[in-house]
Structures are given as structure tokens and as C-alpha cells.
Amino acid sequence: MRRQRLRWLTLFVAFGLVVAACGGDDDDESGGGDTEEADFEAVAIDESAQCGTEEYAGNLAGIEAVDELTVRFTLCNPDVAFPAKVAFSALGIFSAEQLEETGGAPIDAPIGTGPYKLEAWERGSQIVLTANEDYWGDAPAVPTVVFRWSAESAQRLVELQSGSVDGIDNVGTEDFPTVADDASLQLLERDPLNVFYLGFNVDKPPFDNEMLRQAIGYAIDRDRLIENFYPEGSQVADQFLPPGINMYEEGAEGFTYDPDRARDLLAQAGFADGVDLGALSYRAEPRPYLPQPPQVASDIRDQLAQVGITVTLDEQESGAFIDNANTGNLSMYMLGWGADFPDATNFWDFHFGEGASPQFGTGFPDLHEVLADAGSTTDEDERAELYAEANGLLFQHAQALPIAYGGSAVAFKAEVEGAHASPLSNEQFSAMSLEGADQLVWMQNGEPSGLYCADETDGEALRVCEQINESLLAYEVGGTEVVPSLAEDYESNDDLTEWTFTLREGVTFHDGSALDAGDVVESYRIQWDAADPLHVGRDGLFTYFEALFGGFLNPPPPEEG
């Protein structure tokens, strides 16, 4: 009998263990470090024939490794913002060998050229980075940087106050004074490089009614929202572009709070007795552009009620919400945008350009046209004029109502030197030092899903990548100015369709191998060519590449029916 029971127990335990076992042991050490440097081969990819064809929506026409340290990009159409784009961290340069070895998915153990290298990623608890001793730039002052995360601002603050972390991201709105008044801490505000807006899908009645949308525009008291639900440093939005971005129009005409006018417009739109607009959708996750979503949603509901508009709050799970917005399923929703790279196109084209998602319904051709012109105009004044025109069109169509530029802040212990907040949320820890400490602990909102940032869109992942990987160019520490990075220098032809980058000499990857033009070409190519066997990534979307350059080579066949 005893044996019988034992056998059964063993079986169960064995089952449990089998369930727990399987899979796992395939995380080979990647990048041997002793790979022989092959002689440099000139590579040239020329796809200019694809430009403007039906299949290819992209703007990149060719990449060429001219010699060991020279890379040349050719474009179908001029792009003023090209340097700002190549500085973005989704275009970080990987070693061609590692991309090959990991099958195009260096998710767990990225090898870069940056000031820090990945020491350990203990999933669920922390990411540990150690200083790259062979770094080409100034050696980082703190030997170890640890990333931790917590979704709750209260928890982040307590961790900082109790001294177990040295810096935190996104101080809670109500905690600004607490941090500012604490002599042992420093509060560093981020310039608001984002916009919070109320969006409508103009295909869904009654939102196809322009006057109704405008009425809502006049019904919202932006000052009240900023005053009550936003931290210091936030501003009322008068246009879609935040002030820190080029092409911001001083004194643009936007909506102001005017409830009488809202009621008039409502009556003209045929809703004199008020109207029930159904769901106001949002997600509860705080973002720099919207630090207190449920509270703001409640207050907008209350404000709209005062002019006779009824809405019901519809709080959705974050992923489902983005999904629904992108597929045009939401008729009225609260969303925002934070700058990836500091250029007007990053705000305008993504939302209102010809190829934008149906989040606002079918677009407005007049706006498409203006934006297309603005994107390819090289003359600054002409460009500014076109964007002013775009502002006017958005004000008229009102498919998105810009409401706020949300301020946010990071906090550090007072003794952290070089602490800074970056408007692009890409704080550089190599620029910080902490007297007498051998590690600096940073607590952000969430854990990255993967560390191959070509295929990540989440700022939580990008910030980690930005310590490990570098792009051809970079943004200045704590600012938005484009500065040299892996490329020492660059130049373009007169019509801005050909860009040549000269790489820095003597840069090595963390595994000791040297950086050359081939690595650059390969890093771009596998993102660019959707049919490439290495075009894998974490989920294979390469969202940013598509957003930055318009499209992939050999894109998956378009929808049928």
C-alpha cells in the first residue's frame, strides 16, 4: 500500500517536474568575441527602381558601404528630417555577426557599442548593466547601472525616499511638491514634448458631423484640466505640435473654452436638446501626456455634461485600447503622443498623413496634401507656412482636439551629479556620477519586453537600449539637438536625397569585434527587407522603421477582399 501511494506521488511529482522542465536550455552564449575580422567587402544595395511603385511605400532607395568607414544612404524623395531619424534608438547598430548568430532576434543579450554592456537580465526583477571599459567616448563614471521597475508612482517614490534606488522616472502629479521640498532629492522637470488629445473616428456617426466635433472643442475647459490634473510645467495645447518641436507655430488659432459657443454649435449641428455620444474610451495607464487618466476622463465627462453632452466612461485594458484605436474601433477616445525624434513629421504624418492608421477614420485629402508637401519641402519658411496651414485644417476638421502638453519629471538623490531629464525620455546614465557608490539604481515604470529595440516601441525598452546600443547619430544629452555618435560626420547632396556618413575610427562592440560599414548596412538591411530570413525581431513588426521610412521592401502581400 505504501509503495502504491509512493508510486502515485512520484508520478505526480514527475509530472509536475516534466511540466516545469522542457524547453529551456537553449540560451547559448552568444558572440564568441574571437571572431576573426574578415576583410572588408564593399556592399551596395540599390532598390531605387522600387521608388514610387505600388508595392513599395518606403522612402529608402539604397544603402551602400562605400568603404570600411563610409556608409551612403539614398532616398526616393528628399527628407529634411533624415539625420533626426537615424539618431533614433530603434536604428541602433548591431554587429552583423550577432544578428546572424541570433537569427535576427538578439532579444535577451544585445551586443552594442554603447557606454554600458548588458551584465544580466533577471526577468521580472532587474536589468544590470556594467561599464564598457573600451568605450570610445568618455568612460562612464558609475561602474554599474541597475534598472528596476514599478508601475506605481507611490512605490517608486518610497523606494527613492528609502534610499534603495537613486533615481526614478515619472514622479506622481501630487508628489512634485514633496520631492521639490526634500533637500536630499532633486526634481528635474522634462520639457513637455508630447500632446494629449481627444480623438474622434469621423466615420462613426454622429462624429461625422464637423460642427459637433467643434462644439466639443469649445466645451472643454483646458485650463481647468491643466490646473487640477497636471503637474507643474504642463501647458494648454493650442495645436498638435508641442512647443519644443520645430515648426511649432507661435500664436496658432486653436479652441478656447467657450460653453456658449459650444451650445450654439451643438444646436446648429442639430442637437439643441443635448446628445448622448456613448463611450469615451481611454486606458488607465498614466503617461507623461496624461498623468491621471481616470480623473481627467471623469472631469471631461463632467465638463461635457454642462453643455448638454452625455458620455459614458469606457476604461479599456491598455493593449486592447491601442489595438482598438489603431483599427478605428473607437469613436471617441483620449490618447496622446510623445516625440520619438524631434521633428514635426513625427507628430503630423503619423496621425494625419496619407498612410496613417484609421484611428480618425478616413483621412482628409486636403490635410494629406499639405502634409506631403511640408514633408518634402526643404525651405524652412515655406515649410512653416505649410504646417500653419495644417494647423488651420485640423482646427477646422477637429478630428483631434489637442488639449495639453503634459509636463513630467524625474527625481534623483541630491548627490547624483549630472542627473538630467531628457525631453525624449532617453536619460543617459553614462553622463551621471554618484560619489563613492559603485552602482546607480534607476526605477522606471515597466520592464522591457525585449532588448532588440529595432522591434520595440515601448519607451521602457528604448531607455535600456540607449545605454547599450548606439545609432549613427544621437541626440544631445538632455536635449533634442542631433549630435555625432558612431558617425563622426555626415553630409548630404543639395536636394537631400543622398546622405553620406563617416564612421568613427576604432569603435568596437562589446564582444571586441570592430565596427565597420558592413555592420551598419546589415543592421538597416534586415529591418528594411521584410523578406529577409533575419527580419525576425521579437514580434516581427519593426514598427519604427516603417514609421520612419514609410515602408518595407518586399512587404507582406496586401489585404485581399
Binding site: 506605481e152 508612482s153 507611490a154 517614490l157 518610497v158 506622481g172 501630487e174 508628489d175 514633496t178 481647468r224 487640477n228 490634473f229 488607465a284 491621471q292 481616470p294 480623473q295 476622463a297 471623469s298 472631469d299 465627462r301 463632467d302 459614458t312 466612461l313 476604461e315 485594458e317
Partner: protein, 339 residues
């Protein structure tokens, strides 16, 4: 959570003596009298009565509306500290009292009478927390009792059929109940709400579904013991229909354990509903539901603890009331403890 199911085990339920017809009412009257004699149960009844008064007369008690935003009307800010008027006009102007008053005022326990009174402060939308707490009693009570009622009804039907039909049906039904019980209740509830979409009704339904097996088991074990009794055999011999036996013999005899279990069940249901709201799967985001109120102000734990404290306290009181009453009822009805 599921642990709550244990206080009245199936075994205990089966041991409760079987009674017939007329004695039922007397037994209940005794039980209630006995329950009320216990001090802890009295406390429970008092709390519950207060909650009921809050719920029924909410519009009279609450100085403001459930969703009334006070930003514009009074120039108040979100998350203003509680303001309690200690000095009222009719207090005689005695120096001692004035001293006490100014002491309280300077220590944050009170505020000048020219400022509007908010007993529990304002929430993140500058809504009066006290008013919302009062309205919250409605939701909490209705949802908790509703969830349990539904579970009891369905569970009873399943238990009756399973126990009375017996054989394979019984076996199959009980295995299904075992499967349901194998999942942590909260996890199952989260899965159900996610599947059906967040909302108060769905949350209630989820909390309800996960507790069905408990009631089904209790009723079934009662059925099994009643079925063997002489008077049922006599009924059968007299040709009384099964439905009648079920309705007149089995059901009344299952009431005792059911009532005890259900009272304790309300406590569990309230806890679980609050937990669902806390993870963002509760009802209308604007509704004055205690779990939701707490979740919304969770990040103010260190800066405005009162916003977290009051809803938490209310959830606890609500659960406590049902636990105390349920305990008392069980002690009164469970013969093993009648010494």
C-alpha cells in the same frame, strides 16, 4: 476566499439534525434569538444596520451627489484634506471649549467654519469622499447580496438534482464542481470578467459563478442525509411525488446550512468584488464603488492616506458585519456547538 467555505464543512452540514414541518419556524426563531445574544453577532447586526441605513437614505445623508464634481462650484482643488467643523454656533462661548477648538484646528483635526465641510476630504476629481462612501454602501450591499443569491439559487438546484438523482449524474456533476474548485476563485473570476468584458454586472456574475460549487455541495450533502430518513421513506410509500418531497422535505432541511454559508458567502463576495475593482475589472469607472475608489487613489497612499484609508475601512466593515452574523448564526444552528 475559498477558505471561507470551510467553517461549515459538508460533514458538519450532514450532521445537522433533520426536522420536519412545524418545528422549522421555531428553530429559526430560537436561532436568531440565540445569535443575537452573542455580543459579536450584535456588533455585526449593528454594523449591517448602519450600512443599510446609509444605503437606503444615501441621498439624505450625503451632502453631495455621488458624481458631483466640486472644482468649479466652490473653487476647491482635488484631494483637499478633510475639513471637519468642530466649532458649531450653538456651542457656548466658554474659553475652555475655544481652547480645545483652536487646538484641534491647529492640529489638522478641524477647519474654520467658514470653509465648506468635507468629513473625509475630496478625491482626485474634487468629489466629496464622504458622499461617495455613503453611496458606495448601496453598490457594495446590492452587489454582494446579489452575487450570493444567484449562486445560492443555482447551487441549490444543482445540489438538489445531483443528490436526488444520484448515480452517474451525481458523479459527473460533482466532478465538474471539483474542477471549478481547483482554480483559485479570484483567478477564475478575473478570467470570467475578462472574457465577458469589465463591468459591475459581469463582476457580480463572476464572483457568483465561482462560489456555486460550495452551495451545490452543501445542499447535496443535506439531500443525501435527508433522503435516508424514515419520513421520506414514508412519503415514498404513500406515493408522494419527488417534486413534493424535494420541496417539502429536502429543501426546508437544507436551509440551515445554506443560510449560514450564504451569510459568510456575502463577506467573501464583497472581498472578491473589491479585489476585482482594485485590479480594474469592476464597474463604471465613475461609480462610487469602494474597491474602485481605493484603486483610483492608490498612488496617494503616502501623500493623502485618507483617500485610501476610508474606502478600505468600509470594505472591511462590510465584510466584518457579514462574518460576525454568519459566525453567530452558525454557532446557534450548529448543534455540536450548543453546549
Amino acid at each position: 476566499m475559498a477558505i471561507e467555505e470551510i467553517p461549515l464543512s459538508e460533514q458538519a452540514a450532514a450532521e445537522i439534525p433533520v426536522v420536519t414541518g412545524g418545528r422549522q419556524r421555531g428553530l429559526w426563531r430560537d436561532a436568531f434569538r440565540q445569535t443575537l445574544r452573542k455580543r459579536s453577532a450584535k456588533v455585526g447586526v449593528v454594523i449591517l444596520a448602519l450600512l443599510l441605513i446609509m444605503a437606503v437614505f444615501a441621498p439624505l445623508i450625503a451632502p453631495y451627489g455621488e458624481r458631483e464634481v466640486l472644482i468649479a462650484t466652490e473653487g476647491l482643488e482635488p484631494r483637499t484634506e478633510p475639513c471637519i467643523h468642530v466649532s458649531v454656533a450653538w456651542i457656548p462661548d466658554v474659553p475652555v471649549l475655544r481652547t480645545v477648538e483652536s487646538f484641534l484646528e491647529s492640529n489638522g483635526f478641524s477647519c474654520p467654519s467658514d470653509e465648506p465641510q468635507h468629513l473625509m476630504g475630496l478625491d482626485g476629481n474634487a468629489r466629496d469622499v464622504f458622499s461617495r462612501i455613503v453611496y458606495g454602501a448601496r453598490i457594495s450591499l446590492v452587489a454582494g447580496i446579489g452575487a450570493v443569491t444567484f449562486a445560492v439559487v443555482i447551487g441549490t438546484v444543482i445540489g438538489l438534482i445531483s443528490g436526488f438523482v444520484g448515480g452517474r449524474t451525481d458523479n459527473a456533476v460533482m466532478r465538474v464542481m471539483d474542477v471549478l474548485l481547483a482554480f483559485p476563485a479570484l483567478l477564475l473570476a478575473i478570467a470570467i470578467v475578462t472574457a465577458r468584458g469589465p463591468g459591475l454586472f459581469n463582476a457580480v456574475l463572476a464572483v457568483s459563478v465561482v462560489t456555486i460549487p460550495v452551495y451545490a455541495r452543501v445542499v447535496r450533502s443535506r439531500v443525501l442525509s435527508v433522503r435516508e430518513q424514515d419520513f421520506v421513506a414514508a412519503d415514498r410509500a404513500l406515493g408522494v411525488s419527488n417534486t413534493r418531497i424535494l420541496g417539502h422535505r429536502v429543501l426546508p432541511n437544507s436551509l440551515t446550512p445554506l443560510v449560514v454559508q450564504a451569510t459568510l458567502g456575502v463577506a467573501t463576495a464583497v472581498l472578491e468584488l473589491a479585489a476585482l475593482s482594485f485590479v480594474g475589472l469592476g464597474g463604471d469607472p465613475d461609480q462610487a464603488e469602494w474597491g474602485r475608489m481605493l484603486a483610483l487613489e492608490r498612488n496617494q497612499l503616502f501623500s493623502s492616506p485618507h483617500l485610501v484609508f476610508y474606502p478600505g475601512l468600509m470594505i472591511m466593515l462590510n465584510v466584518l458585519a457579514f462574518n460576525l452574523i454568519g459566525d453567530g448564526l452558525r454557532d446557534a444552528l450548529d448543534p455540536r456547538l450548543n453546549r
